[in-house]
Point group: D2
Chain length 304, copies 4
């Protein structure tokens, strides 16, 4: 059975099930979303693509951006980047301060907020025009010029971002932030506020299914080894304290965001994005995880 | 380049490097090992096998046994097994009691000691002759009748096993152990004391590279879905608080033991075992991890 | 107003209030107690004593014994005792294992279970006939030959004592227990099983209000400095994670037990014991704390 | 022997001993202090006062101010203040974020930084002119108009106060801060920057040895019960994770600051202040603690 047929069937099946998730409540602006939105897009290394539902509609990618900012910083710094953050799953929720205290300001991995804040600090130091340069990087990867930050979302998140201010200043107290915390956080909130469609996300992430090569341009974005390592990190750390569960049930590297998006990558084959705004108790899209679990079962393809 | 050639070359290369690891010191009997032992064996689903060095010599498999006891218990109980333990990486070392207290006696995953003790308790309740039945299961998987427990090792570990006694009684205080702690621990120490060669281990683990089917007998040991899930668990939890690092550097599901063995599985392709007794600071074979990192790089094969 | 009048009045007042506490459930044998029992006894350094209610009836003193075993061990070892345990409040409940892991087997203080188990280990090493010698020490302090262990209670607690077995073996794994864990625990459970009346307890604790001198025999049990230090320890650590609250509301050093007893000491003046079996959520006698709070308020006497 | 004689003798004795402490390094401006400074002042309820050494010289009182800001807030809010913070010792160092996460933004007690920040927030909401009103309160208590904030110290601390910014924003994320974090912190740093002499401090704290009554004016600053409770809190929580040790060795309620000051109170009798800038490993004045330990031993007076 082709991917298209499986996706179409599962889309209809899961569209119907009761969604017991809840919309993210901590960013005021995110609450205005239509909770019935549901879209899926798959982009394959063999150029066969397919979308269903609201796959062309933009949404707030939030933490999915952490993979992209890491990719750019990894490209710039190479392996020295790991002096400033780890590669181990945290075993705790996304914005915990406990391990930072134990580990003296070194975030466990780049996909918890603490780690992504350190990445934002690195980019701020290394890029000439951080906001513009990062956006160019994304537009280039996605093949779409129509991607932008949402200042509304960034402002909304900043207005209640006390936990992230705490994280950034706490890390700074251990000397693992080089710039002024307020500047780092401004950039961090901008990065999180990117708005992209499922289609754009799958196109953007396809280089991770393609040995680090942008399939649209044939540019080497990351070395093959770096590309593998980012996939490994998504596998072990991509879903906060539901990472083990996701590996267990879905069996693919992936990354979620509180906007309801999930991207999963099957190395060598495809990148797939599901978007459905309501989240389960761990903060990951309820229908998104349901869909991906059934999709890897039905397609009999997983990395394990 | 064929696997044989790569393995042969890397074996010679890594045999020479200085081994900065140290032998496990907490089990008295384990300290008598010759620290220069070094053996590798690969078993493939296409029946091409290869061994080098001390691949036919038996050693104490220790925690590698946790995958095997889980497999048998999973086969018996099915998904209800997850009522008694989780599937998330622990983020802490193998015998920590902290998370058990937070999680009220539910071990984070089956590959930390707490989880493997719960698995031993399950097998004790479900098997008619636990010690004999488990051994039969292993002999059957490996295709070798010459596998046995080491009563010397079990006794040695028991004589200093205060931390494990603490763990078992602590879990019992939360009602997640059904049998008498001393019986559970006796069986647990027996399981850990299994002595197998790299060759026997690779043969035994090959079913996890083969959709759950024992390639020697064509019996379905676990369903394909269960087999995938055990691989996913090894990927996220197989190396204690070095699990992320192993995924990152080696990119394969695997499991280590303090006897110096590491088994890694490439689903669909092969199971490979490396044995070298000296351990790095995280308690995993120093040369074993070096070898596997270079092996997946050289063979350009990993699941990511 | 004299102590007698105040005690009599508050006894009647508090006897009436609704007791929202619950009896300790984890030791089966303790549950057979009549929950309406209520008794108070005060013993003064000026030899004016007074009792009301069930003050002459024996009950299980449980953790109150921790002060007495510490006193004997402190008398034997002097200040070297503090090499094996600390003097800081734990901030957590009485049988937590978390801090033991952080502090590598050194209990925070002698009044959490971990600390009292280390004290039992010390006495086991130092006393010729531990069980008999400790009993003689208590009988001598109290001036009563009719004090005994309850083998029924000790056996009952042992039958469900998994948490304490865990604690003892965990400490042993850090080499801070010298004897066999099962022997240490047998002695520990015996110590906890002592049965004494409020009258006997107040008489026993009076030496701590009397500069370390047994007022019945004029023997120096502890030096004045040691006696002060035990009072200081009761003040900061006597009520687990309700210690601050007790200092705050009652303002006297004291120690509680899950049998529903509380002893408080006013240095220079008196020792007072209240017994009422139902416990508040922190495991301290509900009416006992109510009474002592009102008593120090009414008598306008506290150390602060 | 009179207090004067004892103090004079111990002053000379301790002046000579080698000071293995180190000056607080984290506030740049504090490092300019002459580390040989050593002064003591005792103020008694019976109006017999005595000073020796640098007792009239002002120093940065830092965390000693936490008792004074609590006193004013307690006076304004009464017992409802305890809805926003606890009265239990923390068991951890002064600026830990771990317990805040577990306790969902409720600081363990008012003497760790988190608690004092909540107190600053309360005063900011309740006082018309926070900075001026608080200063008036202190001047009134001390009987000295010459007490002032140090803007140099406040600015210096603010310039490196990342940990406190983290604490304040973290508490705000749990809704336990009402004002803007930057305003709360400005006021908090001002409070900490107060400069007072040992003489002024002892005079100021004397009301806590005097049932809550300002002995200079006969005004009731706090009720007797509130005064006792603040003493109890100083006893259990006044020295971070050395609180138990201080109760154990000195046996008086007290509060230390990283400027090298310690105030101790003997209820009914006196308030005594010692100042010596070098700190032990727990952050409390090395010579200050030595002096107070010997002082209570020599004077044979302690509350225990």
């Amino acid at each position: 059975m082709s991917f298209d047929t499986i996706i179409q069937r599962l889309f209809l099946e899961i569209k119907k099930i009761e969604d017991t998730g809840e919309i993210a409540s901590y960013i005021p602006e995110l609450q205005n979303i239509d909770t019935n939105k549901f879209g899926i897009y798959i982009a394959s290394t063999n150029n066969s693509n397919y979308g269903v539902g609201d796959y062309a509609e933009k949404f707030s990618i939030q933490s999915i951006s952490k993979v992209l900012s890491l990719s750019l910083a990894y490209n710039i710094l190479g392996e020295t980047i790991w002096n400033r953050l780890g590669v181990e799953p945290s075993g705790t929720s996304y914005n915990s301060l406990i391990q930072l205290e134990t580990d003296k300001g070194i975030p466990r991995n780049p996909f918890i907020n603490a780690g992504a804040i350190v990445i934002a600090d690195i980019l701020l130091s290394k890029l000439k025009y951080p906001k513009e340069d990062f956006l160019s990087f994304i537009r280039n990867l996605s093949g779409s010029e129509k991607i932008n930050y949402s200042s509304k979302i960034a402002t909304s998140e900043k207005s209640v971002g006390y936990r992230n201010i705490a994280l950034c200043n706490f890390i700074k107290s251990f000397n693992n932030i080089q710039n002024a915390p307020s500047e780092v956080l401004d950039f961090y909130f901008d990065i999180c506020s990117l708005e992209m469609s499922a289609k754009e996300l799958s196109n953007t992430f396809l280089f991770l299914a393609n040995k680090g090569i942008n399939p649209h341009t044939n540019n080497q974005v990351l070395t093959q080894s770096q590309s593998k390592r980012i996939n490994a990190l998504m596998q072990t750390c991509g879903f906060y304290d539901e990472s083990g569960e996701f590996a267990f049930k879905v069996g693919l590297p992936g990354k979620s965001g509180v906007g309801g998006g999930i991207v999963a990558v099957h190395p060598g084959h495809y990148a797939i994005t599901v978007w459905s705004p309501k989240l389960n108790k761990k903060g990951n899209s309820f229908k998104g995880i349901q869909f991906l679990e059934k999709f890897t079962t039905a397609s009999k393809l997983s990395i394990f």
